[in-house]
Symmetry: C2
Subunit: 513 residues, 2 copies
């Protein structure tokens, strides 16, 4: 390594480490908003964002300046007031676990090149499988020291994100329904799968990719909170068959993206059992509730599902990405995905029976398990539970503040988990009309009032982006553009929630003046 390289490498390690140990605080901006043109101009002072016809090598000073620009102008997801998305600042233990995995740079496909990580995957997937009720807890002595949790065929696999997990889950579902599609291809049957109208778009994207087609995705109505109405599923299955489709799978959502609502897994499992359908649970977001004794019951019935995708990079603070797809019957993974490449999965090499690469679609796979394994070993089950309980406490605190806000803020759904969906109401519209149940009566609002209410969130958000005072998402719900505060990060405290609401109100009032 040249001294020039060393200076860059040491300089980046120093800056990345400092970012980790001294993360942004409440008084720092969450984002330093810059347009593409502004960022281009900024980087032109160091190494330039683009590459010319001939890309030249830049010196260490310019490169390190560009690294500081990267840090400065990136979204500060570790900032306590980043409540914009269903991921946030990662657990620092996860970050350094990720770093170690990157330094060791190998792939998860074979025991040969990933002996430790293959066993870690087996250990973690077995533990997650037991938590989900797919596997029995061992009745023998079961401590961290023994190898009771290391089967050659664990109940699932790691994959690159939740959408991919749902894609693979649906492929397994179709395979059970029509095993010969894997070899012969679709016979033209119009397959149908069911997901709630609050479910994730991975269902549609997967159906398109699988050759099922987006028309094969039947959206089932949800209740006011965002949970699928089981009776509507029964009706939808009946209607689908009458329309000439062939139902094969239901996707239940455990923690919807917008309201963090949970479908009733027992009710859906009953319907699937009756109709002979595969039950895939999209627990990408809410699956982590299983870590908390207080909240695990939200996924009651999960043990009756066939597959379950769970993003540990969401509530659990793993870095992007860490996704487990759990399956009840892992013997079908190879039937669906094996390619038996003779240069990789040789039958005559050592320990090949542990190879995970011939049970999934991906060949080379980044090591996503190390950071999770490491964080779990440090925090233990109790530390994982704490994370969920804290997120819920912050959401409850937000709801309490909204309820006491005298009409400044109104909830659009009651909300029962970690997302709080609410509108900010301009002073001249307070209080919004309510119906007999005390809910906002949107139909009593004039079209002009609707326009005003709908324009507030993007304008307030833009104001907050410009000042760097907070990052919060918005989307229409029940016909009204509303904020979504996602309580997840361990750095989010009561004072931050209060500051965020104050900022929204102040920014909103400035709009009106």
């Amino acid at each position: 390594m040249t001294s020039y390289e060393s200076a860059i490498i040491d300089g980046i390690i120093e800056r990345a480490s400092r970012y980790l140990t001294e993360p942004p605080r409440g008084s720092d901006p969450v984002i330093r908003l810059a347009s593409p043109a502004e960022l281009t101009a900024t980087f032109s002072e160091s190494v330039g964002l683009a590459f010319g016809e001939t890309a030249s090598a830049h010196d260490d000073k310019a490169v390190l300046e560009s690294v500081e620009q990267v840090i400065r102008y990136s979204m500060q997801t570790s900032h306590p007031r980043f409540v914009n998305q269903n991921f946030a600042g990662p657990d620092p233990l996860s970050v350094v676990g990720d770093w170690l995995g990157a330094a060791l740079n190998t792939t998860g496909a074979t025991y040969e090149v990933a002996p430790v990580f293959t066993l870690m995957e087996s250990a973690v997937l077995s533990k997650l499988g037991r938590i989900a009720g797919y596997l029995e807890e061992s009745t023998e002595k079961d401590s961290d020291g023994d190898d009771g949790g290391l089967p050659t065929l664990p109940p699932g696999l790691f994959c690159a994100g939740g959408s991919m997990g749902t894609l693979f889950g649906l492929q397994l579902a179709r395979h059970r329904h029509q095993p010969d599609v894997t070899t012969r291809g679709s016979n033209g049957d119009r397959l149908a799968l069911f997901v709630s109208d609050s479910g994730h778009y991975a269902a549609s994207k997967s159906a398109a990719l699988l050759g099922i087609g987006t028309d094969g995705v039947v959206k089932v109505a949800t209740d006011h909170e965002g949970s699928m109405i089981p009776e509507k599923l029964t009706e939808a299955i009946k209607a689908s068959i009458e329309a000439g489709q062939t139902p094969f799978a239901v996707i239940a959502t455990a923690g919807t993206t917008v309201t963090s609502a949970f479908d009733d897994l027992h009710a859906l499992a009953d319907i699937c059992a009756e109709a002979g359908l595969w039950l895939h649970v999209d627990g990408c977001y809410g699956g982590s509730a299983l870590f908390s004794d207080t909240h695990a019951a939200r996924l009651g019935g999960i043990e009756r599902s066939d597959s379950f995708v769970w993003n540990l990079h969401k509530m659990m603070g793993m870095t992007q990405q860490c996704t487990a797809l759990l399956v009840k019957d892992p013997s079908q993974l190879a039937a669906c995905f094996a390619a038996r490449a003779d240069y990789l999965f040789q039958s005559d090499k050592l320990n090949g029976e542990f190879d995970s690469g011939d049970r999934t679609f991906q060949c080379a796979r980044r090591i996503d398990v190390l950071k999770l394994w490491l964080t779990w070993k440090v925090r233990g089950d109790a530390g994982f539970a704490e994370r969920i309980d804290h997120a819920f406490a912050m959401a409850q605190h937000t709801r309490k503040l909204i309820s006491a806000s005298e009409g400044k803020f109104v909830p659009l759904v009651s909300g029962s988990f970690t997302n709080v969906v609410f509108a900010w109401v301009p002073p001249q519209l307070r209080p919004l009309p309510t119906n007999q149940s005390g809910e906002i009566d949107l139909e009593a609002l004039s079209p002009e009032d609707h326009v005003v209410l709908n324009e507030c969130p993007p304008q307030i958000k833009a104001h907050m982006q410009a000042s760097g005072s907070g990052m919060i998402g918005f989307q229409p719900i029940h016909g009204l553009n509303t904020f979504r505060m996602i309580c997840m990060s361990t750095t989010l405290q009561a004072a931050d929630v209060e500051a965020l609401l104050t900022t929204i109100d102040e920014a909103g009032c400035q709009l009106k003046s």
Copy 2:
């Protein structure tokens, strides 16, 4: 952060940094071979590999001991004698770029949460697109400082690995052929795609997932070196149509997994143009030849293809994973993959026109671009070219040594790029019989000789794994189990190649004694 957490975090940073700046050398073992039982026993002395019924929190001393065990027992892919796979030790600049990305932990889906990285993707994809001839080099002033390379719709996307790139490429191909499959699903037409019999298994895995079925993957014969025979493709297309299939795509391979052979892209493009087929180039491995003026001609005709997948985590030393799927017509990405989620891709937010998330299958995506951007800015085009030229020089050196080995080693294919495929010949079988062209005449060998030759590679490899003296792959080729030495890492030097061959010969001779 508690002092207990700090101790762990600092300890891991220290160990990971040291691994990076003082990587394993020739005298260190490439692997410390351990069985699952041995690893389980080892980790039971720190924190245990498995998780018990209740996973407890471990103290900093035990955790840091486990981290040392992870490093000690993992494959040392940075070791110069790791020639086992078509990835190896990463460029340290890529590792620290990856670290910084992990610390900033965001996702590539939207400009809002990834302003810098969105522009970097645009810059890198534009540059790669120009290298591939998909875009014109700018005729205006085109330096690193201007923003000439930052379109809102760059010619491709980043995805999690080469198999996924091929999957998406084939989805685009099918979409052009039958746009309504995306909505209505497959109509039962038996689609066919063509790939050489030396091509990657991603073709079959993708066909299974897409609902095309593995029967729809027609394997086209290759020449002795592993390149598709264009005339055989023409015949295969004709036969496929006669058999009632509907051809829609051809996958050309630029750098096969075993012999690093290149298909003739011009010849294949001619055939695709004539037959109206999509040409997807699997350049996961060999695409990087484009960085070298000496080797770019191997991909002559790439500009005539429709899509091109390129793993920068292979020859270019990026950490797992860094894959670009380039496409000639990026306007079809949204048509294939958009889901228009209203909580994420709001039309009323700032800079949404740059959002990449609604042009691909994945939603949250790890930031894979930063490490590539950073390494390129440091090394420049010249540094990237050097990497390819060094790899080729090492392969040529290996071939020279084999040729001068007096029959100890024999090449199974001549080989023209970075992989060297050869057999080790036990003393009693030297010299192997040759035909009139001087090639090994495998048919002249007795069945007993075949058995002996086939058993050598796994036995020699197991011996090398046990001693940690080298990691090299093997697979059958032309009916014979042979070694595959992949020259790729910049740390691989002539002395390492010589040492590896000596080790193989010595291990082989011990087998016989």
